[in-house]
Symmetry: C2
Subunit: 250 residues, 2 copies
DNA sequence: CGCTCGGTTGAAAATCGTCAAATGGCGTGG
DNA sequence: CCACGCCATTTGACGATTTTCAACCGAGCG
């Protein structure tokens, strides 16, 4: 049941418990310590004491939980979703290695969404205490945190753009291009991968019904752009896929 | 042409140039210095040196501009929008008194959207320099900034929920309820106000065509929930309007 | 006084959602 | 090892909502 990940590297990073420090992590160029000096990196190593495994289907945190730490995905795959009062839930994002979870918790020190592992995953915890109290002593961390939060805001603008202005095919194409790009940045194949989420989850993320998502995949398959078999995706014609996304001229 | 605002208070705040300090601002409970001590408030007063007037239709900043300061809306009304490469633009939010503009600029020190005044407006500037360099010396400001950014992320989750799961009437109802709530928090009437934006702008914000927005207004009017005459809105049946918004039981 | 821009309304068309049924993996238990 | 059942996915047909295209109205401004 503990399927490791997509078929690639990352093994160097998955050693025993406490050798895994930010300074030796394969994801350090994508994660919080971007641009840190050696000294700053060492300080971060001290902060990030706790690591945690989350099994497939389990929650890293849930809406309403007290915000005790920010989490960085070390390996695996998550979704964040907000369950509305009337039951339906909305996926607000999918997170993979190097991406942060819990940025919504600073406001009232309570998590405002659920973070669910879509495969067996590992996270690093940056304690909220540390962020609050070492604020003065560690300006580089503060700065980087502002940048990451800012980037999250911009990312969500992109999602709003997608939800607001694109039609079904375009949304699915944009979703796949985005996923491929992020996988590539992590050393995985951008053209051949396994979806970790259901059609339903893709649907609520993209503002579509699961049947519509399925139909879009089928259409892309029919047009010779994708090979789809269940969750196995192979992008046959990357350029054609990109052309489907509005506002992608270059 | 310099219509002051909706028809209410705020006059105490709109005095001469340099008397207007955060500590004496009517919006201080809604803006950055929430929870600050007198001493902290005084320090913020020092930081917020520059104030600026932006006339209706003008840009406070544009996408690509260097990020030199964060802005707090003192009076007036703004929209933020991202113009995609293919020309269409997407409104990502509407900002009124006490709300911050420019949170998307921390990532690469460049604004990632346009901020346009929808009426003659005033803003206070918190220089980026100050935020970066006084980081250590002013932890309360750092903390509050994290909270505000966190809140913006949560707000955008709400918009995603709206865009993803609601139908046209529901979106428009949610939009109006949100607007009314924010106006009320600022001492304006929550049931009678003037829209500062066009149907088109509401449309791109809500992911609808302007004609659909217009039709929704007409339908709400026909159902006796709203009085609509162009941009003059009077909410006749607040409860009925709220009931239209999914996930509003209490 | 006419023009332009924003708003409203109507009718036709397209997209997407809903309902329903069939298929196929995958894991469980015999 | 095989049969069964469950769940995710696919596909079809139909209907509802929303977009598109077009015409018209009205207010504000030169």
């Amino acid at each position: 049941m503990s399927m490791p990940l997509p078929p690639a590297s990352e093994t160097a990073c998955a050693g025993a418990r406490h050798q895994v420090a930010c300074s030796s992590c394969g994801l350090r160029e994508l994660c919080l310590p971007v641009g840190f000096s050696d000294a700053e990196m060492a300080r971060l190593d001290d902060l990030v004491g706790t690591r945690r495994t989350v099994r497939r289907g389990e929650a890293l945190f849930r809406r309403g939980d007290r915000f005790t730490a920010l989490f960085a995905v070390r390996g695996g795959f998550f979704k964040t979703c907000t369950t509305s009062e009337d039951g339906r839930d909305q996926v607000t994002g999918f997170q993979m290695g190097g991406e942060l979870l819990g940025l919504d918790g600073f406001d009232d020190e309570t998590h405002r969404c659920d973070a669910i592992a879509l495969e067996d995953s590992q996270v690093c915890a940056i304690p909220y205490e540390a962020i609050e109290h070492l604020s003065q002593a560690f300006p580089a961390l503060q700065r980087q945190l502002r940048r990451v939060m800012s980037r999250e805001i911009v990312r969500e603008h992109g999602v709003m753009m997608l939800l607001s202005g694109m039609r079904a095919d375009e949304r699915v194409a944009a979703f796949l291009v985005n996923l491929a790009t992020r996988l590539q940045a992590r050393g995985f194949s951008p053209s051949s991968f396994v979806l970790r989420m259901t059609r339903q989850e893709i649907g609520t993320y993209l503002g579509l019904q699961l049947e519509t998502v399925s139909r879009c995949f089928s259409r892309l398959h029919g047009d010779g752009i994708l090979d789809v078999r269940q969750r196995d995706i192979r992008i046959v014609d990357t350029e054609a896929l990109r052309r489907l996304v509005p506002g992608t001229s270059g």
